[in-house]
């Protein structure tokens, strides 16, 4: 177990280094001179090319490529991802303040998606091959087929503009705030994002539950007099949900991708909206910082998925 963990950490680190080389090359390929963007125009006018060269040497940008990569990586690992071209603030700070809203949106969506999927998957598996089972199959195909940004626009049209039940955009009313206000803003984007992941999850729950319901221990439990509800909830469902933990971890990066589009539709002040608007403003350092964040998230989620899978099911040995 320990050696497995160590090996996974090492391959994870190797992959991260590879990705960092790719990202670094992107940094260098990005148009625009970061030094020109950084220095004070007045100082530049006074100092001329000599000042620029000194600044470049100070930042280590006059060194050969592998050396600049080393410097860049050291800074990046220390949380220094450069400065935003637009706000002139550190990238880590700009990204950091957008993280909260995105985590709130993704977390709520995940909760909604899981509740929907467990309910629908359980109903479909226990009433296998009935109309309701086919209906859940079609519904889950439907949720993966409708683009979530379009569903978002449609829900704004219906619930915000026609019915007036919810606010249409942003995270809180200007001047307002408070948990109730944020919740009202959160309902629509989180529900749409949750629905978009509920479809695939439902299929996993259904398939997993069907496999468990056919297992010997379920028959044993029934033979010992456990009622159908107890057998379903205490025995079968508990085991069926174990593999779902892995699926959820692997889905987190996809969930973030879904959040990018919905944050745009609902003007939700998260990282996705920041990334898209930074592309529009050619703010490369922020876009690249976002890339590094996603790479780290992907690797952490993959590792967590493997470990949770083994931790949840003692029959699996990691070697």
């Amino acid at each position: 177990m320990l050696s497995y963990l160590l090996r996974r950490l090492l391959t994870g680190a190797a992959v991260f280094l590879l990705i960092s080389v790719g990202v670094f090359l992107l940094v260098r390929a990005a148009p625009g001179d970061p030094v020109l963007m950084m220095v004070d125009p007045e100082q530049l006018a006074a100092g001329g090319p000599a000042f620029l060269a000194a600044k470049r040497a100070e930042l280590g940008l006059d060194q050969p490529l592998p050396v600049t990569y080393g410097i860049w990586l050291r800074d990046a690992l220390g949380g220094d991802l450069g400065y935003s071209f637009v706000s002139r603030r550190p990238v880590a700070e700009v990204l950091g303040e957008r993280m909260g809203p995105t985590v709130l949106l993704m977390g709520t969506a995940l909760a909604i998606g899981l509740v929907l999927a467990v309910a629908a998957g359980t109903v479909a598996a226990t009433r296998r091959n009935t109309a309701i089972d086919y209906a859940t199959t079609v519904a889950s195909l439907g949720t993966v087929s409708v683009p979530s940004f379009f569903l978002g626009i449609a829900t704004i049209y219906l619930f915000s503009l026609k019915l007036g039940w919810t606010p249409s955009s942003g995270m809180s009313t200007p001047g307002g705030g408070g948990a109730a206000d944020v919740s009202a803003h959160l309902v629509l984007p989180a529900a749409v994002l949750g629905l978009s992941i509920a479809g695939p999850f439902t299929r996993y729950v259904r398939a997993g539950l069907l496999a468990e319901l056919g297992a010997d221990y379920v028959r044993t439990a029934e033979a010992k007099g456990a009622g159908p509800a107890r057998v379903l909830v205490r025995h079968a469902l508990r085991n069926a949900l174990v593999p779902l933990v892995t699926v959820v971890m692997i889905s987190v990066p996809q969930l973030l991708a879904g959040a990018v589009a919905l944050e745009q539709v609902f003007s939700w002040p998260g990282m996705g909206q920041l990334a898209v608007s930074s592309v529009g403003m050619l703010d490369y350092p922020v876009v690249i910082g976002f890339a590094m964040f996603v790479a780290l998230l992907v690797l952490v989620c993959n590792l967590a998925a493997d470990l949770l899978y083994a931790a949840a099911d003692p029959r699996i040995s990691l070697s």
Binding site: S145, I156, A261, V265
Partner: protein, 291 residues
């Protein structure tokens, strides 16, 4: 009673086709796709207007006899744009899925056939690539190099080969042990020959299933990215970028003809592709159907 053996060995394709045609939703999906495909092919004939002709006098007009689905913010005919956009959206989806599946099949066959370090490297790469959302990769690359349709296709192909690769690798591993493949090897057929003659034809049905479902995903992905302004660039219409305007509340509320038709076109087309893909999967692998 005489045992009659068919003179020609029956191919597994015929019963598979029968199973596919028995599936009502797959049939409906196929018919719908045929219609969408025909409309896209015949776009210049059925559009009735130039999709890029700007007419500022006819700005955001509601649907009428002259403009079936009204006009957009530049006075362009929405129906003409819708059918022309279909060409781009379908082409990007098909082309990138085809490239991804071809790459995945090749790598999967190589990994399964050669095993050892080749297998280890390919499968490890597959794990990593699969866990990166293509959407984020496009956001970053579009941020640095500027958005383009060609980049979409490249990123989609480079980011979506692992599914086909895994399927083909698994099938190749079991095919490798089959007697007829062993016999071919014993007669001196090299591994590339075995891949070409025995593996590729055998994995084709499963690859078709993976490819079809991938087309659905990639049409969706193209739509999202073009909606965000990071994919197909205007004035070229795509279903996704036709919705870019719908980020304005007044427009959403008062001009549904601008955002409803392209949104429905994406949803229905993707749903139809998914129905066809599901039908194909059940037809190819009847044992796995609704397990």
């Amino acid at each position: 009673m005489t045992a009659v053996r068919p003179a020609v060995p029956r191919s597994p394709a015929a019963p598979a086709a029968r199973r596919f045609l028995r599936n009502r939703m797959a049939r409906a999906g196929a018919v719908f796709l045929a219609c969408v495909g025909l409309l896209a092919l015949a776009a210049p004939l059925v559009a009735g207007h130039d999709p890029n002709a700007v007419d500022l006098a006819a700005f955001r007009e509601p649907p009428s006899a002259a403009h079936l689905l009204g006009t957009d913010s530049s006075g362009r005919d929405v129906f003409a744009r819708l059918v022309h956009a279909g060409r781009v959206s379908l082409l990007v989806g098909l082309l990138s899925a085809l490239a991804a599946v071809a790459l995945g099949t090749l790598l999967g066959a190589l990994a399964g056939m050669f095993g050892g370090p080749v297998d280890a490297v390919v499968m490890r790469a597959a794990d990593v690539v699969l866990s990166f959302p293509s959407l984020v990769v496009v956001v970053v690359l579009a941020g640095v190099f500027g958005p383009s349709t060609a980049m979409l296709v490249l990123v989609f192909a480079a980011g979506n080969w692992p599914t086909a690769c895994r399927v083909v690798r698994g099938l190749t591993l079991s095919l490798r042990e089959r007697e007829y493949v062993q016999a071919a090897r014993a007669f001196g057929a090299g591994r590339p020959t075995v891949i070409g003659r025995h593996v590729l034809p055998a994995v084709l049905p499963q690859v078709a299933v993976v490819g079809t479902l991938l087309v659905a995903q990639l049409i969706l992905l193209e739509a999202v990215l073009s909606f965000l302004g990071l994919g197909v660039q205007p004035p070229q219409a795509s279903w996704g970028n036709m919705l870019t305007d719908a980020q304005n509340l007044t427009l959403i509320q008062t001009m549904p003809w601008l955002w409803l038709p392209p949104g429905l076109a994406i949803a229905l087309t993707v749903l139809a592709v998914n129905f066809v893909g599901d039908g194909l999967r059940d037809a190819v692998d009847p044992k796995g159907a609704r397990s």
